[in-house]
């Protein structure tokens, strides 16, 4: 894949107003946050207007009502988590997959505790009504139709949540964790019958019932469409296979993937796909990897380094291997810009999305500055392509080669740290720039901390951490 002259055509279009586009995306993000709050309120409101207000008359009624409401809000949050994890293009474009998943994670514990307390509070409430202690009330509770199934659902949810606690999750491979996480769908489905049949909440043909069923259809529809049907259809339609494999540097290879009508995927420079290579050793393993060049209609390129078991087996795949994919995802792109200028700091294999981002960006001469960082000359792969693109687009490039400094800013070389170089020295316009960072996590954290200390606003930092 050559650096062709599409850039020249792009240059002739007027440069986009990044701030205006950012404000629009931020408004969508805000609207989503408000919608999340309101949907929880609506869940409770529907309960209140369909007879709930009458159910606070006695202590047992009030406790029971509170228990029902915690269940409603908890369920609403779980359905919201499904939608956030569904990689809905609309949400991905507005807030980015990273932030969607961050919100998904943040909702996890509240939702779980709400659903647990739903069970406990109702045991207390039912117990108060029938004069039993909450433990003794478990027996009658189990006798209610659909309740045993709901309790199985709760148990599945416990498994899902416990395996997602940071300390526990580290013990499992991503695949094991992910398979376990899929149990959350089973958990929610198992809980539906008791919600429908314990008719205090969802009496037949009520608006409340229609609303909740619509919410379930929306959440499961989003998951099915965007996590299953759409990727599968896309994989089949584009018929992607491994083409040639080119060694870029010791341990680093570019894999060219050939297929049909690849431009119709409309992937933007800097986005990633989740790849699945159909060989015996790799098919069960999916890899999020950015394109390292813009796709042509018949060819895409990814560049990977031998790190960890997964990426090694990828770099050993044979030409002709069938490839399935999900994507494109991510807002490490020109569309993610928020500020008038652009600063890029990139190290090692992190060069890949930056290479594609640069190719895809419309830039005024002098708008962008890039710092290319490498520990050794072996890590300077793709730098030639970056330099070529930079020259054509009027991008200023600084290179910095050498091991990380032991004193001073640890992300620089010792020599640069010693002569007192700062991030503002490298990027004088940093505060009105978008800072795109890509590289290994420990290194990237240092750059990010330095940039924050210099006063750059959070939304102007775009970080892609490469740990493989």
């Amino acid at each position: 894949m050559s650096i062709d002259d599409t850039g020249a055509i792009r240059l002739s279009t007027p440069p986009p107003d990044h701030e205006a586009r950012y404000r629009r995306r931020a408004r969508i993000g805000d609207a989503l946050v408000v919608a999340l709050w309101l949907s929880s309120a609506v869940a409770v409101a529907l309960f209140l207007v369909s007879g709930g207000t009458a159910r606070f008359g006695s202590v047992s009624d009030a406790v029971t009502s509170v228990g029902i409401m915690t269940g409603l809000v908890g369920t609403n949050l779980v359905l919201a988590m499904f939608i956030l994890a569904a990689r809905v293009p609309f949400i991905d474009r507005a807030v980015g997959h990273d932030r969607a998943i961050a919100v998904h994670r943040a909702l996890g514990k509240p939702a779980f505790y709400l659903l647990l307390s739903h069970g406990v509070i109702l045991l207390v409430g039912y117990g108060l009504a029938s004069g039993l202690n909450p433990i003794a009330e478990i027996g009658p509770l189990l006798a209610i139709p659909d309740m045993p199934l709901a309790i199985v659902g709760m148990a599945l949810l416990v498994v899902v949540v416990v395996t997602s606690f940071v300390s526990v999750r580290r013990r499992f491979s991503y695949e094991t964790w992910h398979l376990t996480h899929l149990l959350s769908y089973a958990a929610v489905i198992a809980s539906v019958p008791h919600q429908l049949s314990i008719g205090s909440v969802f009496s037949p043909f009520s608006f409340e019932r229609a609303y909740w069923l619509a919410l379930y259809v929306l959440a499961f529809g989003a998951i099915l469409t965007h996590r299953l049907v759409e990727p599968l259809a896309s994989s089949l339609r584009h018929r992607l296979r491994v083409g040639r494999i080119v060694t870029e540097a010791p341990g680093v290879v570019s894999i060219y993937l050939t297929g049909r009508r690849l431009r119709s995927l409309e992937s933007a420079g800097g986005q990633f796909f989740i790849w699945r290579f159909w060989t015996l050793g790799t098919w069960w393993h999916s890899h999020p990897i950015s394109l390292s060049a813009m796709a042509t209609d018949t060819e895409m390129r990814i560049t990977v380094r031998d790190l960890g078991g997964g990426s090694r087996s990828i770099s050993a795949v044979r030409p002709g291997t069938r490839v399935w994919f999900e994507g494109p995802y991510g807002v490490f792109t020109d569309a993610g810009r928020t500020a008038p200028r652009l600063a890029i700091v990139v190290a090692g294999i992190g060069i890949t999305p930056v290479r594609a981002l640069l190719e895809d960006s419309t830039l005024r001469p002098g708008e962008a500055t890039i710092l290319l960082r490498a520990s050794t000359l072996d890590d300077t792969f793709l730098w030639g392509e970056i330099l070529q693109l930079a020259e054509r687009k009027g991008v200023e490039v600084t290179t910095m080669i050498g091991p990380r400094a032991r004193t001073g800013p640890g992300w620089m070389t010792q020599a640069d740290a010693d002569r007192g170089l700062t991030i503002l020295g490298l990027f004088p316009d940093l505060l009105e720039s978008d800072l795109y960072l890509c590289g290994p996590t420990p290194w990237l954290d240092l750059v990010e901390a330095d940039a924050r200390a210099a006063g750059i606003p959070d939304h102007q930092i775009h970080a892609e951490r490469f740990d493989w």
Binding site: G29, V33, A35, V49, T53, R55, G57, V59, S60
Partner: protein, 146 residues
Amino acid sequence: MRARATAVGAVGSLAVLAVAWQVGTLLDAGQSPGGTASPAATTTATPGASASPATDGSFVGAVENTRYGTVQVKVVVAGGKITDVVALHLTDQGGRSVQLSNYAAPILRSAVIKSQSAKVSNVSGATYTSKAYLLSVQSALDKAGL
């Protein structure tokens, strides 16, 4: 941006809940079995205040509809006194209804027999069943002239 959205969301949610509480209370006042006065329930049923003398026998009360199913009782009167209340049908829609009905009916039955009237308090946790049960008792008592 983010903090403001959260604040708007939180305040908006509170507003939604406040409105819902008001609407729910209004709807409930209009819908609760006690509120919709059935003709039978309007006649007074205090023992002794009734003009016609009580007849012995069984009196079937009106069918009362609730969101959890219908409720109907039969009141047995002997010697001018309520001697038994037999549940002909109790709330049975929704998972817990049968349990609640089985729990509440004996309590209501003995309360009615003890007080010799339908004016007894609801069984907590079984409000709908209680209200409908007592309305049906009242209509049976009206037929009996008690």
